[in-house]
């Protein structure tokens, strides 16, 4: 029997798009349990919407019949599920030990200067959100960061300038 999902909400669920549903349905074939698909669905929705709004979360909850509270517990656990809107490009900035040794603090200060944002903030033009990330596994080319899906290595202030202007236009 299905789990009864009754938690009443003040917020209205968003209807998932056909694309989102198609991708979620595909995930259903890969996992023997719906709960696993819940986390996948959060990622799918984020891919399409940029982040997971309350409405989206409830939309998934309704579609998969997973309690919203459970989904919220999962969504807020993982680093890469954004429960707040993010900019067009998310900068995942590695500030772990090797990058730190190699001077990532200076690079971060430079980004902060350029974009006028600190960790967790989005630039005014909405182009960039800066988020710290644990070691990106490219320590021999530290400091490193990701912008969207792309990795950038051996960062210097100059490189940052180029990267920012490249992505701003994207």
């Amino acid at each position: 029997m299905s789990k009864e999902v009754i938690a009443s909400t003040a917020t209205k669920p968003r209807k998932l798009s056909a694309e989102e549903i198609a991708e979620i349905e595909h995930e259903m074939t890969l996992y023997p349990d719906k709960k696993a698909v819940g986390l996948e669905a959060l990622k799918i929705v984020q891919k399409h919407q940029g982040w997971v709004s309350d409405e989206s979360l409830l939309g998934i909850s309704k579609y998969l019949e997973i309690p919203a509270a459970d989904l919220e517990g999962v969504a807020t656990f993982f680093n890469l599920v954004y429960r707040q809107p993010v900019g067009k490009n998310v900068i995942l900035f590695c500030d772990s030990v090797s990058c730190w040794i190699m001077g990532c603090e200076n690079i971060k200060a430079h980004i902060k200067d350029k974009l006028d944002i600190d960790y967790g903030e989005t630039s005014k033009d909405g182009d960039f959100t800066l988020i710290p990330v644990p070691c990106l596994g490219d320590c021999d080319r530290a400091p490193v960061m990701m912008v969207g899906p792309d990795l950038h290595r051996n960062l210097t202030p100059e490189k940052i300038n180029t990267i920012i202007s490249d992505y701003s236009s994207k």
Binding site: S2, A7, P67, A69, T76, F77
Partner: protein, 911 residues
């Protein structure tokens, strides 16, 4: 049995337990947080660390969590080891980092497990001088307050709420030291068992909002062992009083009944006792004017009533003593049932089955042990909530079985759940609508009542040919019915549940199934749990002659065959049609009503005598399984209310009354065994209802009189209204509020159990009243096919709500905050064909009742599920079929916003 050594002392232990359980069972003090006797171990808090040694030569040992280590033979541990002690105190230091230290303003203060464990662990001085983490709290509805800053992240709340009680709207969120326990957004906690969070949380995160409004410290409450009057389960409670008002109810452990948990009706449905509406003076109405009666006048009136011309109507919500006293006053022949005729008839069936050797009526604990369950027609969550919680545990027996096979100890909670995944012991539900237990159901049939009855007989027939089968309208469920029969046959401890909320035929079908199982298994009695609606439905039923139905009483009055009427704690307008009641009352020359609150019946009385409420008198009740339990008086009613039995019988001592009931009433022989034995007086001193820390006694009424008043005397009971005396430390029957040195919280209960989760030392868990005959009765015949519905007619089935369906709790403000209007649930198809939309008002043809329409997807087309609301509809008014018509009037007052249903038709889907 295994032998283990703890700090040099050898103990005999159960190797299936873990070390923490065993340490506690042996009476040793070992602090813990995340472990709970009913929820097993997860090893999160690390508070129960002990040193374990490989062998006698091992001097270093290593730290292990007692709760995560089996008590296997030869284990050597030390609780007192310095390393273990200092680790435990460091754990407390960690937990205290962000704790607000707001004990003086915290409702948990004084009964806080965190306080106790902090003391016990010896963490005294704060070293942390940095910023604390703070949280925002949530609004969680009328019952529970939320103060997340006090959280120590033991994970008990979510483990209880989700895993144990099946709630879906509380979760742990975020991570590292920001973990947060709450809802996904603010709103009422939906579980019917949310109140237990107050007791499950070891500190003050979840507190009793109702209590907070009128708060008192635990030690300042006058408390006595009591029994919940919310339904027929009879959970054991410990109500607390101060300044004459009842302040709260908490759980009182009874290993066979409620264990550690109550439902929210029981916990929050008590403040009718404090209601401003309470009847507190004896009055007589003459020409529309009410006059206060003197004691002498009352005596005279009662005398007048003790004549053959008087009819006494008993009450399923009144005690055995009150019912018995009334019966004595009016005579057996004139004593009538205080419930509807239909209900009384089914009560008769239940009582007859109770004596049948084929069946066993299981306790709540036994229900938890069932490995295959069939629920036939009852909405258990809304009728006998605590049993629904037990059924949620019964489905886990499969998981435990798997754990045994894989040699995973049953207390390894997370591991057992992980192993079992969705594997559950079978629980089949056959009922007219979706129920709150569906999420754990294996088989599910929703159909009209006549079909359900037929299905029941078919299952019985599939188990044994000797049971006659019945024809049903469809064969669509044949496979499911066969499967259910198989599951029940295969089970080691099958359980059938039915009840009389929709007439007696389902009970007969259920009995046939159980009988068939008994015949096949040649077992001792098969577990047959038959639910009745009220706290003492069975007790009253046993005292009334089977022929003495309410209808007969009303007829006698109307015929003039009887002239006077005494109504005991009962509103007749809920039991028979208004026409019948009106006609009878009209004719009666004199009417005397005893009750706590004004009702339509008291309004018609010539004499109204104020009856004490459950907390104000000593009483016995008989629960659904025939268990008699004694409920002590918590406090004296300070106004003029008296126990009903005392109004009716001015002289007799309660114990004598009980004794006489034993001697005179059939089936009550064992009743006096519930009374505490004389040897429980220590040195002639009574058991105090007030704790040894009870404060302010000398000043309590200083605003009126600076002299300390004399303590009230209780010459009826073994308990005193005082802090003097000898607390009954080890006796369960008179253990009001558990407390032990170093253990101020409810966790102290382990000090009174013979082992963790076991029976309380000494005392008893209540007395089972039913004598089994040696013979097994015959099978019931299926009913002859009843009428078929005419066009537009709907099969009627009654629906119930935990908050609203019980008369007294429905008059409590906190419960009212969760109640909804009466409604009629119909399927989308039936709604469409009648042009109805969600929330429309309809009139039920042939009555003047208006109800709200509730369109539910989990209802069979052709069935109307009628929830009568708090007395707004009278079930006696309706017959087997109803017709509904749209009407323009708005019926709603409370609205439907509190309705918690998983099958409410969604606007999205309907369009």
């Amino acid at each position: 049995m295994a032998k283990i050594v703890i700090d040099g002392v050898t103990y005999e232990v159960n190797p299936n337990n873990n070390l923490l359980q065993e340490c506690l069972s042996q009476g040793l003090d070992l602090p813990y947080f995340c472990w709970h006797p009913c929820m097993g171990s997860v090893g999160a808090c690390r508070q129960c660390a002990v040193k374990q040694y490989r062998d006698e030569d091992d001097k270093d040992g290593m730290l292990v969590m007692a709760c995560m280590t089996p008590a296997s033979d030869g284990t050597i541990i030390s609780i007192e080891d310095e390393g273990a002690k200092s680790f435990r105190s460091e754990v407390i230091e960690s937990l205290m980092i962000s704790h607000p230290h707001d004990c003086p303003v915290c409702e948990e203060g004084g009964e806080c497990h965190l306080q106790d464990m902090t003391q016990m662990s010896g963490h005294n001085y704060r070293r942390y001088d940095k910023k604390k983490v703070t949280h925002r709290n949530q609004y969680l509805g009328p019952f529970i307050s939320h103060e997340m800053n006090r959280c120590i992240a033991c994970y008990r709340c979510v483990r209880y709420y989700d895993n144990y009680a099946g709630g879906t709207d509380l979760s742990v969120q975020a991570s590292h030291h920001h973990v947060y326990f709450g809802r996904h957004e603010e709103g009422t906690l939906e579980s019917e068992f949310s109140g237990n969070l107050v007791e499950v949380c070891p500190t003050g995160v979840f507190t009793d909002k109702v209590f907070s409004e009128h708060y008192s410290r635990k030690w300042d409450l006058q408390t006595a062992p009591s029994v919940c009057v919310g339904c027929s389960v009879g959970c054991n409670t410990a109500p607390g009083e101060r300044y004459g008002s009842l302040r709260r109810i908490v759980n009182r452990y009874n290993s066979e009944v409620n264990g550690y948990f109550l439902c929210d009706r029981g916990r929050f449905g008590f403040d009718f006792v404090n209601s401003e509406e309470r009847l507190l003076e004896p009055i007589q109405r003459k020409q529309g004017k009410a006059e206060l009666l003197t004691a002498a006048q009352i005596e005279v009136s009662i005398q007048q009533f003790s004549s053959a011309e008087t009819i006494g109507i008993g009450s399923p919500r009144a005690s055995n003593e009150s019912n018995f006293a009334l019966r004595c006053l009016v005579g057996d022949d004139n004593f009538y049932a205080g419930c509807s005729d239909a209900e009384y008839e089914s009560l008769g069936v239940i009582l007859a089955l109770a004596a049948d050797a084929a069946f066993h009526s299981p306790s709540v604990r036994e229900i938890e042990q069932a490995d295959a369950v069939l629920i036939l027609g009852e909405d258990v969550t809304n009728i006998a909530p605590r049993i629904a919680l037990a059924l949620r545990q019964s489905v886990r027996n499969k998981a435990k079985e798997l754990a045994d096979e894989n040699r995973i100890p049953q207390w390894q909670d997370a591991a057992v759940r992980e192993l079992a995944q969705h594997e559950r012991s079978p629980l089949s539900i056959l009922s007219p609508a979706v129920s709150r237990l569906d999420d754990v159901a294996s088989e599910r049939i929703i159909d009209s009542l006549p079909n359900l009855i037929a299905f029941g007989h078919q299952i019985a027939n599939k188990i044994s040919d000797s049971a006659a089968t019945a024809v049903s309208a469809s064969s669509e469920h044949d496979d499911t019915l066969a499967l259910i029969a198989q599951q029940l046959l295969r089970a080691k401890r099958p359980l059938i549940i039915a009840g009389n909320s929709n007439g007696g035929e389902l009970i007969k079908a259920a009995a046939n199934i159980a009988k068939a199982l008994q015949e096949k298994n040649d077992d001792a009695g098969i577990d047959l749990c038959l639910l009745v609606p009220e706290v003492n439905s069975l007790g009253m039923g046993m005292l009334v002659d089977p022929a003495n139905k309410l209808g007969a009483a009303l007829a006698r009055l109307q015929d003039g065959d009887a002239k006077r009427l005494i109504v005991l704690e009962n509103d007749l307008y809920r039991r028979a049609t208004a026409t019948e009641v009106d006609a009878a009352l009209e004719k009666a020359e004199q009417i005397l009503v005893l009750d706590q609150l004004p009702t339509r019946t008291t309004a018609k009385a010539d004499i109204v005598l104020p009856a004490t409420a459950f907390s104000e008198h000593e009483a016995t009740y008989i629960n659904y399984e025939g268990r008699a339990q004694l409920s002590f008086q918590v406090n004296k009613c300070q106004k003029m209310a008296k126990p009903s039995w005392r109004w009716l019988n001015a002289a007799e001592h309660i114990d004598d009354l009980v004794q006489r009931c034993c001697n005179e009433a059939k089936g009550f022989t064992k009743l006096s065994e519930v009374l505490p034995a004389d040897n429980q007086f220590v040195a002639g001193m009574k058991v105090p209802r007030q704790s040894h820390r009870y404060s302010g006694r000398t000043a309590m009424i200083a605003n009126i009189n600076v002299h300390e008043p004399k303590q009230m005397v209780d010459d009826e009971s073994i308990m005193s209204f005082s802090m003097e005396g000898v607390p009954s430390q080890k006796d369960s029957t008179i253990l009001a509020s558990s407390w032990a040195p170093k253990w101020n919280s409810n966790q102290s209960i382990s000090k009174f159990q013979d082992e963790v989760n076991g029976e309380l030392k000494q005392g008893h868990t209540g007395i089972l009243m039913f004598e089994k005959s040696t013979s097994v009765g015959a099978y019931f015949e299926p009913p002859v096919n009843s009428l078929t519905a005419a066009e537009k007619q709907l099969h009627l089935a009654f629906g119930f709500q935990i908050f609203g369906s019980d008369e007294l709790s429905a008059r409590c403000k906190p419960i009212q905050a969760r109640m909804t209007d009466a409604y009629v649930g119909i399927s989308p198809e039936d709604a469409q064909s009648r042009n109805l939309v969600q929330g429309d008002t309809v009139t039920i043809s042939g009555t003047d009742s208006n109800v709200t329409v509730c369109i539910r997807t989990g209802i069979k087309t052709g069935t109307a599920l009628l929830y009568c609301g708090e007395g707004s509809l009278n079930p006696a008014e309706f017959s087997e079929f109803i017709e509904i018509e749209k009407c323009e009037k708005q019926s709603a007052s409370l609205g439907m916003r509190n309705l918690i249903l998983s099958d409410l038709q969604d606007e999205d889907k309907s369009s």
